[in-house]
């Protein structure tokens, strides 16, 4: 009995060590993988944000329908998709109105906005392409007008114009 207790305890210790090592290894690899995925995701998001550049070209207030026509250019390197998920806030220095996106088109006092692509109408805002945003607040807004457009990626464009 005494003769086999040494190898037996060694075997038990070895199995325990293997089990413990596998458990720890699993936990470490899982966390390393999680951190890696987070970094990859953060990298993609940062790259997208840095690559997305939008410039405001011109803003026009149409007194006949009380709507604002805003022109933007995608001057970045990336295609901007899901533009309808953007947030548009229009107002002036006194107040701001959050407008909701209306795919079928904005009309007078709808409290909504819509857009159309100028050069290539394919629902993707490609680099160098111009879009016309029609924003119709629910009430008349006094000049000078101010808007903030926040794209789905978080990139913001803000400008003041007189129309």
């Amino acid at each position: 009995m005494r003769g086999i207790s040494g190898p037996l305890s060694e075997a038990v210790l070895l199995i325990a060590a293997i089990v413990a090592t596998i458990s720890v290894a699993g936990a470490i690899l899982y966390n390393a993988s999680f951190i890696s995925n987070e970094i990859v995701s953060l990298s993609a998001k940062s790259s997208r944000q840095l690559g997305e550049r939008v410039v405001f070209v011109y803003g026009f207030y149409n007194s006949s329908n009380d709507c604002h026509y805003l022109y933007f250019k995608n001057v970045g390197d990336t295609v901007i998709a899901s533009l309808g998920s953007s947030t548009l806030i229009l107002g002036n220095y006194t107040y701001a109105i959050l407008l909701f996106f209306n795919e079928t088109g904005a009309t007078s006092y709808c409290g909504c906005w819509s857009y159309r692509e100028i050069e290539n109408n394919n629902t993707l805002w490609e680099p160098r392409e111009t879009i016309e945003v029609v924003a119709c607040p629910p009430v008349h807004v006094e000049a000078p007008y101010k808007f903030i457009l926040t794209l789905p990626s978080g990139v913001k464009v803000s400008e003041t114009y007189r129309g």
Partner: protein, 166 residues
């Protein structure tokens, strides 16, 4: 033996994790620095680009003017270059959005004493000190003595504007 196995396995695992982490981090840093470089180049380009509009002539619905590159870098004019004209017709304000090559054109480019003829819609690089002669047609004839605004913007966001009387 078990302690040797554990230590060896642990070290191997640590190395794998470190290599994996460095690889991912390197990808992140390279990607981020490339985007930062691109952004820096863009800001540098835009800060050195400048255009001026002058000698605007209106004849009915036709408008012609000169577009001068007064900056330090070439400015590309192609079918992503737009002109917006904001004007009054019959007392109401109108806006025309015009695309290069289909709605507005350049017929000549003068660089010093050299004048180059440009085919309709031809892509041009407007060099510093070059002056392009621009032609466009509006939807309506602007009311006389009313405000007329012209905005030019190319595909990368080089923008200029003009405000005058029709």
């Amino acid at each position: 033996m078990s302690s040797i196995f554990t230590a060896g396995f642990g070290i191997a695992l640590l190395l794998v994790s470190i290599v994996m982490f460095i690889s991912v981090w390197n990808t992140y840093v390279v990607s981020f620095s490339q985007e930062m470089k691109s952004l820096a180049e863009y800001i540098n380009y835009i800060s050195r680009a400048n255009l001026d509009i002058y000698n605007v002539t209106i004849n009915g619905t036709s408008i012609d003017f000169y577009l001068e590159n007064s900056g330090e870098v070439d400015v590309l004019v192609d079918n992503t270059s737009i002109i917006i004209v904001d004007y009054f017709y019959n007392g109401s304000e109108y806006i025309d959005l015009l695309v290069y090559g289909s709605d507005w054109f350049i017929d000549t480019i003068a660089t010093g004493s050299v004048v180059e003829v440009v085919r309709p819609g031809e892509i041009v690089y407007l060099e510093p000190s070059s002056v392009a002669h621009v032609l466009l047609t509006l939807s309506y004839q602007p009311d006389p003595n009313t405000t007329l605004r012209i905005v030019f913007c190319n595909g990368v966001g080089v923008r200029t504007s003009y405000v005058g009387q029709a």
